[in-house]
Symmetry: D2
Subunit: 493 residues, 4 copies
């Protein structure tokens, strides 16, 4: 048994060119089945991170933790594991990490014995001043176990001059910049936090018997039969103990800027984000797109599965038939054979196959949720044409992505983003489409909140489309990456 | 290393109540990339069997074999495996076995050193006189390695008085009853066989450079960029060598009876079965169903993914909106936590969640491909109602399944089949639907071949609906199961 | 899970230049603890084969088998394994295979369902006409599962025209040439066989409660507290059932030729072989050597552990102190780092270190049991000199090995044997000894049976020293190796 | 991949009743083969700890670490592992932990990124005030990763107000109580430390090309062909950099008290401890024992392997033959079958078997190195008698063990020590010996340093025999065990 990676990771070489949400969090208090409920909740949040999963439970005396690389259903399936995660309270985490950072030490929940007792934490988001804080903490004698930005929060707590968990936690949070939805566990109970801008989502739920739940999305409430209560508010701290729930807002009040991409792609279509059904929002984006960018065609086809709702919305608005012109193979293993030159062009077909019986001789409107590097679009359109499609009109259910995200999303560098290098016409040529259109920024906002961007409330974080970042980016400004020094200084093989 | 099962199998306790195709086969001759092409082909056929996979290649001198439990993409992903499967010819197999028989020795391809040289075989189907033949062979001194019916074929060949591979093979095949699409490999080349009734499919394909391919479905041709040439005919033997393809029909000519369930559920929607696009057939079944069993409703929802094409066909015919009212979670691991009493009712939600935003207050037409035991239907309808649906009208895109299949499909015993125990009204009550309808047998045949059953050509094998078995069932008639004796006599732990 | 080798084998690159016994066998009948007793017995026989182990038990109705690569203590340690090997009768096997043949299919016990019922077998020895028999059997339609010579016996039984197990077994045995001590299990009981020459040992033991045991050596009786009853005689078949033990001798009577190397090296020093305590025999060989080849020296040192008894015998006879001048490291893992040029010369030190405190400035008599290739002797003597020894006189407690063994021992080809290429003086120079002497053939016989070779009874098989093989070597005479054809024709990766 | 224990540990239920050294350390600087040399060195030190092993290397820029449960030869055998441990400097550790503490996080080397750079450390010994220090550190905000006492040193360094590695290290060391031989690595070089009493050994060695080595024992120098230079002195810090070796003694000077049990049992017989050949010392203990406690007998037998040198010394002094009356089985696997009642008495035979051929009818002097609980002695003597020995006179080559060790040795609680509960006569009866004698304390000192205890120089730590502990035992005095709180508060499953 070693700490190195024994398993190939779930990424395969024919990646599907998406932005990647980096995490999902879940917490529960007061349940006889805290750990199995958490496992089910994480399973429902699996789309937010497939690389690793972890659960930390507390049984009134002892904390129990299990963390593993791989899917929830592969690692928390054995009764022997679940039954050892005893207790009435638990927190859990699924994670999709950026390359290089995939080591077991980074897998959350993180846990530490503080002088006030055990403390565990799960984080969705990304701190933009973690490098600076880490540097200062190491100077003061802190020893980091991981390369994760989240560990900064624990060290800030450990060295805080306050005495209670909550006071130390607030003391730590006030020093943070960036995006964070947190679920924390102490011997006293559960704590939920959403950063002042509310970039990443966090909802509060309840089981009929008064059990309290925190989750990134409502779909994790559905799977355990819990009721949605309300969103945790931007800048709010929710403290759940045996005595009930208390709420506080210890941060300076800011105008909320939740992430609009949760609606475009990250969240599951059956979730409610900002109390809006994501599937419905995506259908409305499709309808806006149909109005803004119509095309003469025989049928509307989605790039499955993420393009489905917008394609149905587009088809209904355009009064065209929606057909499954591309069939998805759901049995993709962890990796796949490295292609020889001879078979390299087959790439995209591992996941998708054109349904030639529906495409032959037809003009097709092809709807996808977004274009990142454009690599998959090239292959999909090529495959659709080879199956006999006469014309391919590509329609994208989001504006063009031109900027990187620094708030907990795995984005390529700016220069790799297709839309930062080309205008729409050039992009159409590059991907091989007869025409290409993105929904406008106003169209997107109309679909989400019913009004154009300038009038919208809330005004979402749309930095990936607009470049308008709602926080300062301190680590980036620093120029060097102080954390890199320690990142390269040890390899746990 | 032992021969016992180290990994949990891909079945989870909340099974989705489907009939299961037990196998997919693939073969290729003349390719520089015989093994990687076979791995890709098997990946495309993965829906026909997820429990194990195997590839056997021949390099002109030596046979190479790799067989494993689990998915193709998990077991043939390493270059070290693929690169050792050298040669210009290969056969491969994916398998879904019935309970009890999942041991590595049963995983195909099977291989034996005959006096005429090495011989490997892959089988889709099931022999109905394998028990009798096995008994006779053991009496004559044959030693069986597996509990699989397919091994009978190899022993019949080994003890045949003929001398060439082909003559021995035909000698063996003539003694078989039941369903078999076979792909075999010898030092001379590749052999494809379809039983005289043509119960299971087998197609012939070609890569541009003259490489010959045999496959259960056309979707495996698509993934490697091969062209469909033609179906192997019922009762035909196709012999592929360096000199080209020769065809023979050494069996008594019978009226073909291909399996109609390939159209209903088994085959992938993008495949062409009997030269018909399966997606198109399923849409037409949906349209027949809309005509035969209309309902007043707000929208049409599929039980994903298998119900999708019929639901779209129904919606278009009924001029109702098709909506994704049920969202599927694609990240189901190998198994999942054994539910405690407290959370047992959550079962179906591991795979499906109701999209409440679309269902609340609506009358819903719910389309599924078939009902086997009815266990999943109960849970799905309950889930849809809990999400707020006002009415649920269940529509099934196949006739009622009343009989077991003995031709290579995993069916429950007759008494477990819901439709063998209840009429449609009782079934509607049992599953909790406001109304329930199955497509008629004539409606199904119209959708598939354009005419009612009695006029249809071919007349498919529809024994699961009609009880009319096209072959004798010798082992069943025998009363006892001679093979059971040896099945229990050794356990490879 | 695949059939290929996942673990590195227990051989490491700094092999210790010994002949290797290829197998140990054990059987028990009538015990409530048949499987745990067999596991303990195999553990005591572990020195006869470290590469794989297997146990087959019978519970009156069902056979249970577990076979694994690796040590007994690593594979039969879990209660979950042992408790599944139910029954009152069991046979077991440890195996050291020659390179290339290490595949799980070859691991014994072998088992087959014959028409008369289940039959399992364990074999110590090697058949010298297995290739010929296999060829004939394959021609008649037999399909072999393994590349092991032992499987020939099973196929001969399966195709025998006799009806009872025992008659079929005798029918099969009569066709065999070579060396075989066999332990077989049937639904009726246990059968023990020793070939007419009695090349390999087999003893009969008893637990106080009447439980019968068969074992390669008496040390396996000791570990379970059983009593030694008698040796199974050359050419004898012992049949153990509920009714008791019966004995028969269905083979033509030959003069016995047991293997003399069991005394030299193969058997454990605490075993009694041919009713002689092996440790005592080895001490007497040392004493003969002291008389035949004295040397002026300060102390006697053994190459541990196999050289210890002869060194003690030498020291006592020569009235010199016996000292542990070489210390053995018992923690050798499965393999070890592949040495770079820089550290390649360290090889032998992984296992042995010179005890410089005892060697410095001393004249040393160094006693080893045998010399095969001489590779280890070179390194040991070099190490002893580097530790400060003034003179090194090498004394070998067996005659010079000049011929290969074909009776179940892993010997290098003749040309690799040092003594087949050089006379004693050249060998002394090659290994770097000040003097070198082997015990004479008569000295060896005197130590074992108290008389010179020509008068000895029995006259042992000493072919490795004399080249006088007591059986014909049919497969060797054939010129080609028919089995090779099938060996290379399939690779289970 | 999880952090829990996947493998059974190397302890088996029939433990051999020894005190256990808890660690061995090794370090090398300036070698092209730093990691393979360290692996070889650790292999030679394997007897000091078989539970886990780790190596940390530094390549001038980056630290590389690999740590694993199990033997060195099982975990550092692959070239892929060794070749990734790049660099010219490395430290390594083998460990035998007490029950409960076997978790991967405790496996050494420990590593931390301090503000001054990376720092790794290996520890042999035990700190007697670690609990107190840990408590204080946690109060100041330190977050511990492990439950190991060694981590205290790292946190003391991290929070030290000094600036260089060396000054911080000395600052930390001055706060420690107890036993510690340390090998540490920094970007600058290697540091070796021995506590002021010099309880645990540490030697300095050199390869011909000027490469510097630190090791627990000289046998690790032998295996890589290095020369012994000198012992690191009690209270000395050795600083090895590119510029050479510097030495300092920053602690108050105390009278050294090295552990005398290194001579009795811990060290390998081929090592030189305090410049004395351990084999020679043990032979002299045997001779003292022969003089102090003679017995009329036919032969002298050792409990192998640890009793061998003293038995040879006894036999030579008593002019009796030394015989191998007990044979050891070297193939003990990781664990073994849990004995049923029926076979529980077989225990000791897994490892030892009586050589009945030598014992029958004889009076035997049986020599062992020590008695701890006495459990094995009972079984060994019973086994020897069952093999036919007439009389058994037990002679122990150390004084009676009456007290626990707190300096890095795994000792049972005092009440479990046989000699703390009985006098010698009662012990003889309990273990079933005809007579029993221990060497006297003066006899032991005479054998080790040539003079009685009161005149001896150095006066060793003999607390396990005398109860005279050379340091204060602060954590013990505290009464409660503060570390236990955190020990139970998290379980990495």
């Amino acid at each position: 048994m070693t700490e190195r990676l024994d398993k190939a990771l779930p990424r395969h070489p024919f990646d599907d060119d998406k932005l990647r949400e980096e995490c999902g969090v879940f917490g529960i208090f007061g349940s006889k089945d805290a750990a199995p409920h958490t496992a089910l909740g994480l399973h429902a949040l699996q789309h937010r991170g497939q690389e690793s999963a972890g659960i930390l439970s507390f049984d009134g005396q002892t904390f129990h933790i299990h963390r593993a690389l791989g899917l929830v259903g592969d690692n928390f399936s054995e009764n022997s594991v679940i039954s050892r995660l005893k207790g009435h309270a638990a927190i859990g985490h699924v994670r999709y990490s950026t390359a290089g950072g995939t080591i077991l030490r980074n897998v959350q929940p993180l846990f530490a014995e503080l002088s006030s007792g055990g403390f565990g934490i799960c984080h969705n988001g990304n701190l933009t001043n973690a490098g600076l804080l880490r540097k200062q903490l190491v100077k003061r004698g802190a020893i980091f176990q991981s390369t994760s930005d989240t560990e900064v929060i624990i060290h800030l707590m450990a060295t805080s001059s306050y005495s209670t968990f909550l006071d130390r936690f607030i003391d730590a949070l006030r020093q943070l910049e960036g995006a964070y939805s947190l679920v924390a566990i102490t011997p006293k109970g559960l704590i939920g936090v959403r950063d002042p801008l509310g970039v990443r989502p966090l909802v509060l739920g309840q089981l009929e018997d008064g059990v309290q739940i925190l989750s990134s999305e409502t779909c994790a409430l559905d799977i355990i039969g819990a009721k949605y209560v309300r969103d945790v508010q931007p800048g709010e701290i929710v403290n759940i103990t045996r005595k009930g729930i208390t709420s506080m807002s210890p941060f300076p009040r800011l105008k909320p800027r939740p992430c609009i991409f949760e609606h475009v792609y990250f969240s599951r279509p059956d979730s409610f984000v900002d109390q809006k059904n994501v599937y419905g929002v995506r259908k409305r984006i499709g309808a806006e797109l149909a109005a803004e960018a119509p095309a003469k065609a025989d049928l509307v086809v989605a790039v499955p599965d993420s393009g489905n709702p917008a394609a149905i919305g587009y088809a209904q608005a355009a009064k065209l038939p929606f057909e499954m012109g591309i069939i998805r193979n759901h049995y993709v293993g962890r990796t796949f054979i490295e292609p020889t030159d001879h078979i390299r062009h087959l790439g995209v077909k591992l996941k998708h196959n054109a349904n030639a019986g529906q495409l032959k001789g037809k003009s097709v409107i092809l709807v996808d949720d977004s274009i990142v590097r454009g690599t998959t679009s090239v292959k999909i359109i090529d495959m659709v044409r080879n199956a006999g499609a006469k014309e391919v009109h590509m329609r994208i259910a989001s504006p063009a992505i031109t900027h990187s995200c620094f708030y907990g999303v795995d984005t390529p560098n700016r220069e790799e983003l297709l839309a930062s290098r080309m205008d729409v016409d050039k992009m159409a040529g590059y991907i091989g489409a007869d025409s290409l259109a993105f929904v406008s920024m106003d169209g997107l906002y109309r679909a989400v909140v019913g009004d154009a961007r300038n009038n919208a409330s809330p005004q979402y974080c749309d930095a990936c489309f607009s470049g308008e970042y709602p926080t300062s980016l301190s680590d980036l400004a620093e120029g060097d990456e102080p954390r890199q020094l320690s990142l390269i200084s040890i390899k746990i093989q």
